[in-house]
């Protein structure tokens, strides 16, 4: 077998191990789903009338507000799911099993790749679950074409990959699972200060840069554009740049941390 196919085989083995963990202990994944679901229901059913009144300048229209917040909620779901990746990487590192992996003649990166692919698959599953709930309470896309759906799916996967690499780095940098969970909290909190729930230009002027210059806002705007037909403008490129940048940074950071010697 060639080196590449051996690497793929090792990564696949590691992926199966991580998926087995996730399947056997689904509570972590499910707990992480609670935050976006709660926020979705809270903002639609409790705050919905007021929020939507401030949105379009017109009267209260709850269905318009559902449409507005679902893209943000979906990306927030990804932010939550990758916290699980940080926690499971940190847990793994405290166990002797990773030291054992290091003494095997396997592809070095396969341990991390297994975590990343596993976490991206979990993100996709979580997004599908939350998306289904959104559709159940009335979310409809505004005649998105097949290509737009495909682009939306691609963006979600790319975004999940980027955040997962960052989360894996956080997991590696943390001494234990609790620390990893704390360190990854910003990934859940960032969407709250993005354009997920209200448009950035309705925020106080001093705060707008904070909302604008972070990965969630361009990604949310792009997703909104693809699913709801609002203007995307520069946000499409910005979102892709953020994703590629974060993924690359997270990858370099993670592999450097993983290859460092643990005295």
């Amino acid at each position: 077998m060639s080196a590449l196919s051996l690497a793929a085989r090792d990564a696949y083995t590691m992926l199966r191990r991580n998926l087995l963990h996730a399947r056997r202990y689904p509570s972590l994944t499910l707990n992480l789903l609670l935050t976006p679901i709660m926020l979705l229901l809270l903002f639609v059913y409790i705050f919905g009338d007021v929020m939507s009144a401030g949105l379009g300048g017109g009267g209260a229209d709850r269905s318009a507000y559902i449409a507005y917040i679902v893209p943000g909620i979906l990306l927030m779901t990804i932010g939550g799911t990758v916290v699980g990746a940080a926690v499971s990487v940190a847990t793994d590192m405290t166990e002797g099993i990773v030291a054992r992996f290091r003494t095997l003649a396997i592809h070095r990166g396969s341990v991390l790749i297994g975590h990343v692919v596993g976490s991206v698959l979990q993100s996709v599953l979580s997004v599908v679950l939350v998306g289904a709930l959104a559709v159940a309470i009335g979310f409809r896309s505004a005649d998105a074409s097949a290509l737009e759906w495909l682009a939306a799916a691609g963006l979600l996967v790319l975004f999940a990959t980027a955040l997962t690499w960052i989360a894996v780095g956080m997991g590696l940098a943390s001494p234990n699972a609790e620390a990893a969970s704390n360190m990854a909290m910003p990934l859940v909190l960032l969407p709250l200060i993005s354009s997920a729930f209200i448009p950035a230009d309705t925020m106080p002027g001093w705060f707008q840069p904070i909302a604008e210059y972070q990965p969630f806002t361009p990604a949310i705007e792009t997703l909104r554009g693809l699913l709801l037909g609002t203007g995307i403008g520069d946000d499409g490129w910005l979102a892709v740049l953020w994703c590629v940048g974060l993924a690359g940074l997270g990858y370099l950071w993670s592999t450097a941390l993983f290859n460092r010697e643990r005295g």
């Binding site: 083995t13 002797g96 099993i97 290091r102």
Partner: protein
């Protein structure tokens, strides 16, 4: 991947490693022939684990060279990894999945076919008495079971050289015995075992060659017998009920170490039948009778204390399988270098 039959399994020269200011290894030379058990003996913190980590490619040495299974541990790390199996001091099993899944995971990582993987996993689980618990999560295993699973996982790839870092620390006597049996089997099957331990009895029991690690250096190396010869020989200890008898015996026997308060004499002796008979004859002819006679042959404890100049025993309160020997009060502290 052929290694000439006469090449040593492990060869190290001048290994050095420091962590910050702390010098852990300060020039270690080792040669371990194939098919033998080599034991690195030392108290906690002596650098045993660091030596294992260097030889098993986990950390790089600051200086020196090492070859394992004929390959350089730095330049040919991946080839070394293909030839070794490592059981670290801390359990290296995945507690979230079952024992069987752990074994199959190892089979996959050794790129065995599904069938071959299942066969070897089943065989090893059986051999390590884990077949019944195979379907239970490893986290529910007892300490002894985890250790056995750990060892079984190490053997999936049929390693030529096996590193066991304190494999019996924290185990009950029965599990310890099991591990010893496994080590003997492995060597019988042709593997080379590099074992670290803080139990002198364990090294004595298993190892063909023993190196005592002290202060980052090898203080002594040899077979258990050779090491025992490094300390002054054995002695016979005579105890008397009264001062007169003790004094009388001391006069009759000539130059002996007397401890008048304990009413005892220590006579250098190899403990052989002939030596004892001559000793008794001399006592008889002097008309003195000893109250108690004990023969003390040097054991690894003596060697260890003599070499390390350490008065605290390295073994925990319940050392394993100590052979019946006189108490340690007759220890030759003057034997320290």
């Amino acid at each position: 991947m052929t290694t000439a039959a006469n090449n040593p399994a492990i060869e190290a020269a001048g290994l050095r490693k420091s962590f910050g200011e702390k010098k852990v290894l300060d020039g270690i030379d080792l040669t371990v022939p194939q098919g033998t058990v080599f034991s690195l003996l030392g108290p906690n913190g002596a650098g045993k684990t660091t030596a294992v980590r260097i030889l098993s490619t986990l950390v790089a040495a600051d200086g020196g060279r090492a070859r394992v299974a004929g390959r350089d541990v730095v330049a040919e790390a991946q080839a070394v990894r293909g030839a070794i199996g490592v059981t670290g001091q801390f359990s290296a099993v995945d507690g979230l999945i079952t024992g069987e899944e752990n074994m199959l995971l190892m089979a996959d990582l050794h790129h065995l076919s599904r069938r071959e993987g299942r066969r070897i996993a089943g065989e090893l689980l059986e051999r390590f008495a884990l077949a019944e618990a195979a379907k239970k999560p490893a986290a529910t295993y007892s300490g002894g079971m985890r250790r056995r699973l750990d060892l079984a996982m190490t053997l999936v790839g049929r390693p030529q050289v096996i590193f066991l870092d304190e494999p019996t620390t924290g185990l009950d006597p029965r599990s310890r015995q099991t591990v010893w049996d496994i080590v003997r089997d492995l060597v019988f099957e042709g593997a080379t075992v590099f074992l670290t331990t803080q139990y002198l009895g364990e090294a004595d029991e298993l190892a063909d060659r023993i190196a005592v690690l002290h202060g980052g250096r090898i203080a002594a190396e040899g077979s258990a017998e050779e090491l025992k010869r490094l300390v002054p020989g054995g002695y016979v200890r005579l105890r008397f009920t009264d001062q007169d008898a003790c004094r009388g015996a001391a006069v009759a026997l000539g130059e002996v170490a007397a401890d008048s308060e304990a009413l005892s004499l220590r006579i250098p002796s190899d403990g052989s039948q002939r030596a004892l008979r001559s000793l008794l004859a001399r006592l008889d002819s002097a008309g003195v009778e000893a109250d108690e006679l004990t023969v003390h042959t040097p054991d690894l404890d003596d060697v260890f204390f003599a070499l390390t100049g350490d008065s605290t025993p390295p073994a925990p309160p319940t050392p394993p399988a100590q052979p019946d020997q006189p108490t340690r009060q007759g220890r030759h502290t003057e034997a320290a270098r």
